[in-house]
Symmetry: C2
C-alpha cells in the first residue's frame, strides 16, 4: 500500500501535468506490474475480491490510456511524450516486459484475457518499432526484462512471433557496430560470446534467464554453452555464501573474480531473485542438483534476508557484516561523496527505488513453481517445503519442518518415477519407501526411484549438522575466517545476543554445537563456545605488544535471513577461526 501513498497507482491514470506532485518515474510502472503479477499468483490459489478489483482497476487504466498502437507507459505518456523510444537506459522496454509478465500471470490465474490481449498488441507494436521500422534510437534495451517476458508470452499464447522477438533482442545485443560497447549492461559482446558474468547484476540475471529459455526452446547449443559458462563463473567466483551476487555498489555490479567484501556487499535482493530465475531455467534443460542447490542457497539466505520476519519491511542490499557505528562516519560530507544507498541497520517499509519489495512478493507468491517439475508420469522434487500439489493424475503432499529439520515426508499418488534432490550441503542421508529402508539410483545429485501404481510414502532424512565453512584463499576478505551453516541456512552473530564487538568472536573448529528451536520466530538458533580477546587489557592504548589474553565465551548465532529483526545490532557472517 506504500505504492498508493507515493502516487504509483495514481500515475496509471496518466493525468499528471507539469507542476503536479508525484511526477511519475520511469520505472514506477514496473513496480505496479510486479504487484499485479504477485496478486495473480495469489489469485491462482483462490479468489480474493479486493485483490481482483484492484487488478481490474489497473487494467482499466491501461486500456483507457494506452495509444491506438497499443503502447502504454505512464511516464512517457505524461511527463515526456516526445521521449518515447529515445532513451536506451530509460527502462521503457523493462516496464513493458513487466506488464507482459503481469498479463500472463493474470490470465493464467483468472482465465480473463482482456489484459493479455492488450499486451499482445503492445508486443506487436514493439515488434513493429524495433524489427520492422527500426525507428527507436536504440537496438536492445538498457535494462533487460522484455526478453524473458516475451518468452513467457509465447509460452502462454503459443504464438512464435513473441519468441522470435525475444530472440531478436538477444541476437542483436552487443553486436558491433549497431550497439555501443557497454559492459555494465551486458553489451560488451554478443550474448553467445559472454562467458563471464559482468555488469549490473539484476540486468545480467534477467538477460541470462531469457538466454536459458531461448537456448532450451530453440536448441541453441552456443547459447546453452554461454549460459552454463556464465552460471559456473558465478558459482565458482562471484557468489556470496548467502547466495548474494553483485558485490559492488558501483553500478550494482559484478566485479572481478573472488571480490566478495562483506561490509560493502551490495548484493541487491532483486539480484538474488534473478539468480533464482536463472538457475531454475537451467534446471529445465538439465536436471542437476547444482541448480536446485543455488535456488535453495539464495532462498533461505540472501533472498529471505530482504524481508523482515513480520513480512512488512525490506532490505534493498544485504551486506554480510554490519556495524551501527558506521552510520556516524560520513557526517558533514558532501552528499555526492556518500554511498547513495547508505548502510541500513534496519529494514525499511519503502524505498525511493522500489524494485525489490514487489519482486519479493511475486517470488514468494510463486514459490510453488520452483518446487516440482513433471514429465509424463515422472515427478522431480527440487525444493522441500510443506505443501500440496496436483498435476495431471499426480497428487503430491510434502510434510516437513525443512529447513529447521532434515526429515521430509513425501506422499505421492499416480507417480511412476520419482526423483528428488540431495542437497550439495548434505553428506549423509537415509531413504525410507513405505516404511522400508531403500536405496535409489543417484545421478547428478538426484535420487531416482521407480514406483508401482498407487499411493506411496517416501521419507527422506537428511543429516543436518552445523558445519564450519571456509572460503577459497583468493577471497581475501574471508582469510582466516569461517562461516557457520546448518543445512542450507547460513548463520550470523549479532551483538544483541553476543555483546558489542562481534568482530572479536573466534570459533573453535572442535567446539560442540547445540541447535535450539526458537518459538517466536519459528527458526533454530545455535549455541556454542568460543573465544574473544579480553578488551580490558588495553586501557587507553590503540596498539600493544601481543599477549595471550583470550577469554572463553558463549556464542549464539541466528539465521542470516533473520538478522536485524530485534533492533539495531552489529552483525557478522564470517567469524575468526581460533
Amino acid at each position: 500500500e506504500q505504492f498508493q501513498k507515493t502516487g504509483r497507482f495514481d500515475a496509471l491514470q496518466c493525468n499528471w501535468k507539469p507542476g503536479m506532485p508525484n511526477k511519475p518515474h520511469i520505472f514506477w510502472d514496473s513496480d505496479i506490474a510486479k504487484w499485479v503479477e504477485s496478486a495473480a499468483y495469489i489469485l491462482q490459489k483462490g479468489p480474493d475480491e479486493r485483490l481482483e478489483s484492484i487488478c481490474e482497476w489497473v487494467i482499466d487504466q491501461i486500456e483507457k490510456n494506452r495509444t491506438s498502437e497499443g503502447y502504454f507507459n505512464s511516464f512517457y505518456l505524461t511527463v515526456e511524450p516526445q521521449g518515447r523510444w529515445q532513451g536506451r537506459g530509460n527502462h521503457e522496454l523493462y516496464c513493458a516486459g513487466h506488464w507482459i509478465e503481469a498479463a500472463v500471470a493474470y490470465y493464467e490465474a483468472t482465465g480473463r484475457d482482456r489484459f493479455l490481449h492488450m499486451m499482445e498488441e503492445f508486443a506487436r507494436y514493439i515488434q513493429q518499432v524495433f524489427v520492422k521500422e527500426q525507428s527507436a534510437s536504440f537496438v536492445t534495451p538498457g535494462h533487460e526484462e522484455i526478453e524473458l517476458a516475451l518468452y513467457k508470452l509465447y509460452r502462454c499464447t503459443g504464438k512464435t512471433e513473441y519468441r522470435d522477438l525475444s530472440k531478436f533482442f538477444l541476437d542483436n545485443r552487443g553486436v558491433r557496430p549497431r550497439e555501443p560497447e557497454a559492459m555494465g549492461i551486458q553489451s560488451h559482446l554478443p550474448v553467445r560470446e559472454q562467458k563471464s558474468a559482468k555488469g549490473h547484476a539484476v540486468r545480467a540475471m534477467y538477460l541470462y534467464s531469457a538466454m536459458a529459455d531461448i537456448a532450451r526452446d530453440c536448441c541453441d547449443q552456443k547459447m546453452q554453452e554461454a549460459c552454463e559458462a556464465l552460471f559456473q563463473d558465478i558459482v565458482r567466483h562471484k557468489l556470496y555464501i548467502t547466495g548474494g551476487i553483485g558485490s559492488s555498489k558501483h553500478g550494482e555490479a559484478f566485479t572481478i573474480p573472488y571480490d566478495l567484501p562483506n561490509k560493502e556487499a551490495y548484493t541487491e535482493t532483486c539480484a538474488a531473485i534473478g539468480l533464482i530465475f536463472f538457475s531454475s531455467r537451467l534446471l529445465l534443460s538439465q536436471v542437476d542438483s547444482i541448480y536446485g542447490d543455488v535456488v535453495e542457497q539464495v532462498l533461505y539466505n540472501g533472498f529471505l534476508s530482504g524481508l523482515s520476519l513480520d513480512g512488512k519491511a525490506f532490505f534493498y542490499t544485504n551486506p554480510l557484516e554490519l556495524c551501527p557505528e558506521w552510520l556516524e562516519k560520513d557526517v558533514d560530507k558532501p552528499k555526492e561523496d556518500q554511498p547513495w544507498l547508505p548502510w541500513l541497520t534496519q529494514r525499511v517499509k519503502v524505498f525511493g527505488c522500489s524494485c525489490c519489495p514487489p519482486n519479493v512478493t511475486r517470488l514468494l507468491a510463486s514459490l510453488g513453481g520452483y518446487q516440482y517439475t513433471y514429465e509424463g508420469d515422472a515427478l522431480w522434487v527440487h525444493q522441500y517445503m510443506d505443501s500440496e500439489a496436483v498435476h495431471g493424475g499426480m497428487q503430491i503432499r510434502q510434510e516437513t519442518q525443512y529447513p529447521n529439520d532434515g526429515r521430509i515426508s513425501i506422499t505421492v499418488d499416480g507417480v511412476g518415477r520419482l526423483a528428488f534432490r540431495i542437497p550439495g550441503w548434505c553428506s549423509a542421508y537415509k531413504i525410507f519407501l513405505d516404511g522400508q529402508p531403500w536405496e535409489g539410483e543417484e545421478k547428478r545429485g538426484y535420487v531416482y526411484l521407480r514406483l508401482p501404481p498407487g499411493r506411496h510414502n517416501l521419507e527422506l532424512q537428511l543429516d543436518m549438522p552445523c558445519v564450519l565453512v571456509e572460503a577459497h584463499p583468493r577471497v581475501r576478505e574471508d582469510a582466516g575466517r569461517v562461516a557457520v551453516r546448518r543445512g542450507p541456512v547460513v548463520y550470523c552473530v549479532e551483538s544483541v545476543d553476543n555483546g558489542p564487538m562481534v568482530s572479536e568472536i573466534m570459533l573453535d573448529g572442535k567446539a560442540f554445537w547445540e541447535a535450539e528451536y526458537e518459538e517466536t520466530y519459528g527458526m533454530h538458533i545455535l549455541h556454542t563456545k568460543g573465544l574473544r580477546r579480553n578488551p580490558d587489557g588495553f586501557g587507553d592504548c590503540l596498539y600493544r605488544e601481543m599477549v595471550e589474553d583470550r577469554l572463553p565465551v558463549k556464542i549464539t548465532m541466528v539465521p542470516y535471513y533473520a538478522f536485524a529483526n530485534r533492533g539495531v545490532s552489529e552483525m557478522q557472517v564470517w567469524l575468526l577461526r581460533a
Copy 2:
C-alpha cells in the same frame, strides 16, 4: 622539475590570459612556495648557485606582479581578478601562508630580506582586509595554514602584530554566528572547545600546529588543553600503526574512533607531515617522549612511504593493504562513481593535486630541526640519526645506523645537561657514559644526565627485537591480526617475496625472527616461518567444509616505507595470527 612542465613556475609571471594553456590553479602558488622553502633549508647547509638563482627568479616575479597593497596570488591576479577574498574554500590564505613560510626560511638561510619584507607587506594587507575592514566574504580560511605561517613570521621578525593576526584567525574560527558550521574544516566549534580530531586531516594538523604555537607563546591554558586533548584523541583512536591519519577518502578526513580500514586507508602523506608539525610543537611546551615517539613513528613509516627509495616518485595516499587486482575492479563504471584517487600500486612522479611531493622535500630538508632542542647549557636529543650540529657553545655529533640498529653514539662538547628520549617501543636499554655503564634519571620518557665541562661520549644501546603488535579490539579491521615492528619500523609482506595471496599468511607468535641487512636499499629485512592454507585443495569450489590443511612457509618482510619499490606487488601490514 615536474612543476616546470605543468606551468606552475610560468604561472608566477601572471601573464596568463583566457584561452592559453596551463591555466593557473588556486593552489599552484603553494607548491612553488613549498619548493622555495625546501630550497632555503638546503641553502642553510651550504651555497648552491642554481637553487638560489631559481629562488631569486621566483621572488622577482612576485615583486613584479604583486599589487600596490602587497597582494600576490598567481590565480586571482590572472584567472579570476574579481574573486579576490570571495571564496573561503579557495586556498587564497593558504597560498599566502606558504609564501610567508618560504620567505622566512629564505631569509634565515641567506640573510637577504627582500622576500621577507614583501611578505610582511602582504601580511599587513591581510590584517587590514580581515581585521580592520572585514571586507572579505569570509572570516577565517577554509584551508588553515596562514595561522602557523604568521606565527613563524612573528618569531622571525619579533613583530607581535603577526602573532596577533594568527591569534585573530584562531579566535574567530567556528564562532557562531559569524561562521557557518563546518566539521570538515574544523569550524564546528570555537577552537578551544575542539577536543576530538575532526574533518580534513591536513587542515586539522595545520590548525592544531598553530594552536600549539599560540597556546605556548601566549600561555593560553584553554588552548593548550584543547591541543593536548586533540593529540590524545588522535593517538588513542585515530592513528594507524604506520603513523598515518585521515582514514577516509571522503573529505580526506578523520572519521569515528577506531575506524582504521587498511585497504581504504587514505592517510595522505601531507597529513603525516602535519602530524609531525603538531607533535613537535607540543614537545616544545612539555618534554614528553610521547611526542617524539609519534614524530618517529610517522617519520619511519607513513611519511617515508610517501617517497620511493630512489627519491624520485611519490605516493599521495598510503594504504596498509594493496592488491593489484583491485585496479581491474571499476572498469566500465561512470567516472564519478570511482574513487577520485584510484589505488596506485606504484609511486608516481607527479600528481594533478601536487601538495605532497614538495611537502616531502621541505620536511626532509628540515629534518634536523626535529632532532634537538636547547635551553641554556641543556641539550635534548629527540631523534636519532647520523648527524652533526652546533648550537651556541655546544657541539653535538651522533653516529648511528638507527633505525637499522639500536646503538647510538653521541659525542657532545660544552653541554651541561643532556637529555635523550627512550622510545616507547623500547623495553630495555643500556647507557655508557665515556665507556662506563651509567644510569640516568628517567622522567616522562627522557633520561637526564648532568655532565662535567668538556667533551663526553654517550653510548646508548636500545634493544630492538622484532615484536608482534595487536590493535585495540574496537579496530574491527585488525581483529585476529598482528603487525610486525622492529624498533620504530613497521614491516609488511609483499607478494614479490612471498608469492601471491599474502592475505593468507599466518604468523606464529612463537616463531624465531631473523633480521638481515639488505645492501641495495640499506635496510633490514626480516625472515621467519609461518603458515598458509594449501590452495590446491579447493579445486573449482568457492566454499568448502573447513579442513585442517595448513602448510609451513618461509616469510620475508620488508619495512613498510619500502613497499612498492620492486614492481607491482600485493602488500599487507596486518597479518593473520596463526
